[in-house]
């Protein structure tokens, strides 16, 4: 499902010097596989997820998702590929405040190639336990509910790969396990590969495969 080959990324510092962030010779995640990615703060986890999602471009290397090297695609095609094949759950949920829960889920569909499937959006929200919150705005939802909407939105376009960037970091402990269970269960049901970034050992311990960025990043 995911193959990174000789991927490197660096940033230009204010003083003009190049600051290397990532240098990953090879990294692979299989179809439907669920992986936890851990690493210290500032090690480049979010940058790696952005590169896998096609939000950022690597300096060099191949980013193969479902057999397509998205690093070689023009930006517009990369955007469309992301909408069609990659789901993203943010640490801070990033729901659009002016839209209802249902509209936030449908918004993800609006940018993909297919038609907006309202019934699927409702079904997803029912599966995450928010069937009675369809018309609620994010400000009318609890933090845990917002993250569940975020999960439903990420799965709206039946992605092949779900990237979850510390999805439980802003959720109270009582909801953390529920969010993790929700993500894992829906990914299993939809045969979606999962890369979940977390700092929480309790979360990581539930996964069969735990990767440490320091080990795959050859800087």
């Amino acid at each position: 499902m995911l193959d990174l080959i000789q991927v490197s990324k660096s940033y230009i510092e204010p003083n003009g010097k190049r600051l290397p962030i990532l240098n990953i010779p090879r990294y692979h995640v299989g179809t439907g596989e669920q992986v936890v990615l851990m690493g210290r703060s500032g090690s480049g986890k979010t940058t790696l997820l952005h590169i896998i999602a096609g939000i950022s471009q690597p300096d060099r290397g191949n980013v193969n998702v479902a057999g397509v090297n998205i690093a070689a695609l023009p930006e517009a095609q990369r955007d469309r590929f992301r909408a069609d094949h990659i789901g993203y759950v943010f640490q801070t949920f990033n729901l659009l405040p002016g839209f209802s829960a249902l509209e936030n889920v449908m918004l993800g569909m609006a940018f993909a190639g297919g038609a907006v499937d309202r019934s699927r959006a409702i079904n997803l929200l029912e599966r995450v336990g928010l069937g009675d919150r369809l018309t609620h705005k994010p400000s009318q939802l609890s933090v845990g509910e917002q993250q569940r909407v975020s999960v439903a939105r990420a799965l709206a376009n039946r992605p092949r790969l779900l990237l979850a960037d510390e999805p439980t970091a802003n959720v109270d402990p009582s909801n953390q396990q529920h969010i993790v269970d929700l993500i894992r269960q829906t990914c299993e049901e939809e045969r979606v590969a999962l890369i979940l970034v977390t700092h929480t050992p309790e979360v990581a311990s539930q996964f069969a495969r735990v990767d440490r960025l320091e080990e795959i990043n050859q800087l």
Partner: protein, 466 residues
């Protein structure tokens, strides 16, 4: 979910700011609509009213003043021309004219009209109507004229209708017909008698000895004649101070050779209950309203030049004079007003740009989220442009309605001061340009914030603290 809905949600999200910017656009568009409709309707009405007659003949002097006096009942009266000059435009011989007027054997002064040959200009003329001006009743002009004025159409296919009563008769010297607005504002009714004032304005003296009886009230025509009082020209001549002293006439070359001798033999005689008509050599007219003969176009074209060779009389085409008025004077004022109001709309457009642009820092994360969900750069740019266009068109539509409502409210004042009828549903074709104009303006206004959205660094915006 369409991009329109995404843009609409964004507008709703910033409701107060959106409402205020749309309001500023509404006010700007309302001003443009008001100026456009009022100025164009006034121009169209003036031009349409000027189309009733091909030529206005009067004394040498200000052409505009002559047209304003006769067609619009505005401005101060001009000098007069001799009555016999008016007769040069009449088609028949004096006998035929008398017969046409039904005066044979009537015994009134018309029976003593000179045996005049066919008028010199008659072959080029279809209709010639004399106007005698200089009197007023309350705030309205009094026009001494002939009943034939109301027997022809005042605009193509539109004829005078009497709401009450009838036309005045030639033989009844002191009958009058009043316009609809005169009736409404003075309270004059059928059978009422009134005394006109010599001169325009309150300083004139009232013709106390002679009064006119209202025998007809016109239906509204939407022309300046709604605010005029029409009296029998024969009665007008008999009012105190309206007879001209022939000894001081400087006729120049106005009359044709031999006519002077005929005129000098004119002696008014009685024999009828009506008063005696004023002798022709004591008569003058302020203006002659001419419709040229459509069957004799060559002569009609040369008529204007022919009359203007005369040292004391002039012929002007009212449509040309009004066109020049609007082109050279009113047109410039209109352009200036339009420019100012358009500037207000442009400022409103800049307001929309500033409002959206200022919101961009707050919305950068939302834009980044949309991009992360798969929206292209061009998509988020389109959303911002749609937002700008939506605010402009929403405000513009409100302004359109507001402007027409203002026109409806101002219609009473417009009628009072210009005689031009306006209402909520008065539209001008230039308003159709508002829609594409607003789309272009709002696209330009939205371009800067849209480009800002276009250039949003998704990765950096997502990693920034919310």
């Amino acid at each position: 979910m369409s991009l329109f809905k995404i843009a609409w949600r964004s507008i709703q999200q910033r409701a107060l700011s959106s409402w205020l910017t749309a309001l500023s656009m509404a006010l700007g568009v309302a001003l443009v609509v008001t100026v456009l409709v009022i100025m164009n309707t006034v121009e169209e009405t003036f031009t349409r009213n000027a189309q009733g007659f091909d030529l206005i003949v009067g004394a040498k002097g200000g052409a505009l003043q002559l047209v304003l006096n006769t067609v619009y009942h505005l401005s101060t009266p001009v000098e007069n021309v001799p009555y016999d000059f008016y007769l040069q435009f009449k088609r028949g011989t004096s006998e035929q004219m008398i017969e046409a007027a039904g005066m044979l054997g009537g015994g009134a002064g018309y029976a003593l009209l000179p045996r005049q040959p066919r008028g010199r200009f008659a072959s080029a003329v279809d209709v010639a109507i004399p106007y005698c001006l200089g009197d007023s009743y309350q705030d309205f002009r009094v026009v001494g004229t002939e009943p034939s004025l109301f027997e022809i159409d005042y605009a193509p296919g539109q004829y005078y209708q009497f709401a009450e009563g009838r036309n005045f008769k030639t033989e009844n010297f002191f009958e009058a017909v009043i316009g609809s607005r005169v009736a409404r504002e003075t309270g004059l009714k059928l059978g009422d008698k009134f005394n006109s004032t010599h001169g325009i304005g309150p300083e004139g003296h009232v013709h106390k000895d002679t009064s006119f009886e209202v025998v007809g009230i016109l239906e509204p025509t939407g022309t300046p004649n709604d605010r005029a009082v029409f009296v029998n020209i024969e009665g007008f001549y008999l009012l105190d101070g309206h007879a001209f002293d022939p000894s001081i006439r400087e006729t120049g070359n106005l009359t044709q050779p031999g006519l002077e001798n005929e005129l000098s033999s004119f002696v008014p005689q009685g024999g009828h209950a009506s008063p005696q008509a004023l002798p022709i050599d004591k008569r003058e007219v302020t203006a002659i309203l001419i419709r040229t003969d459509p069957h004799n176009p060559i002569a009609a074209i040369s008529l204007n030049k022919y009359i203007n060779k005369n040292p004391t009389a002039q012929a002007v085409a009212p449509t040309r004079i009004i066109f020049q008025l609007f082109e050279n004077i009113v047109g410039n004022l209109r352009s200036l007003l339009l420019l100012l109001t358009c500037l207000i709309v442009v400022v409103a457009g800049i307001g929309i740009m500033v409002s959206i642009y200022n919101s961009m820092s707050d919305r950068r994360r939302d834009i980044a989220v949309m991009r992360a969900l798969g929206a292209r750069r061009s998509t988020v740019m389109t959303v911002i442009l749609l937002e700008s266009i939506g605010l402009s068109l929403g405000g513009g539509l409100a302004g359109f309605i507001l402007g027409h409502a203002a026109i409806g409210v101002l219609s009473g004042l417009m009628v009072e001061y210009t005689g031009v009828y306006l209402g909520f549903f008065s539209f001008v074709r230039w308003e159709a340009l508002l829609l594409p104009g607003l789309v272009v303006l709002s696209t330009l206004a939205g371009y800067l914030p849209a480009m800002s959205a276009y250039k949003t660094d998704v990765s950096r915006s997502l990693q920034a603290n919310p």
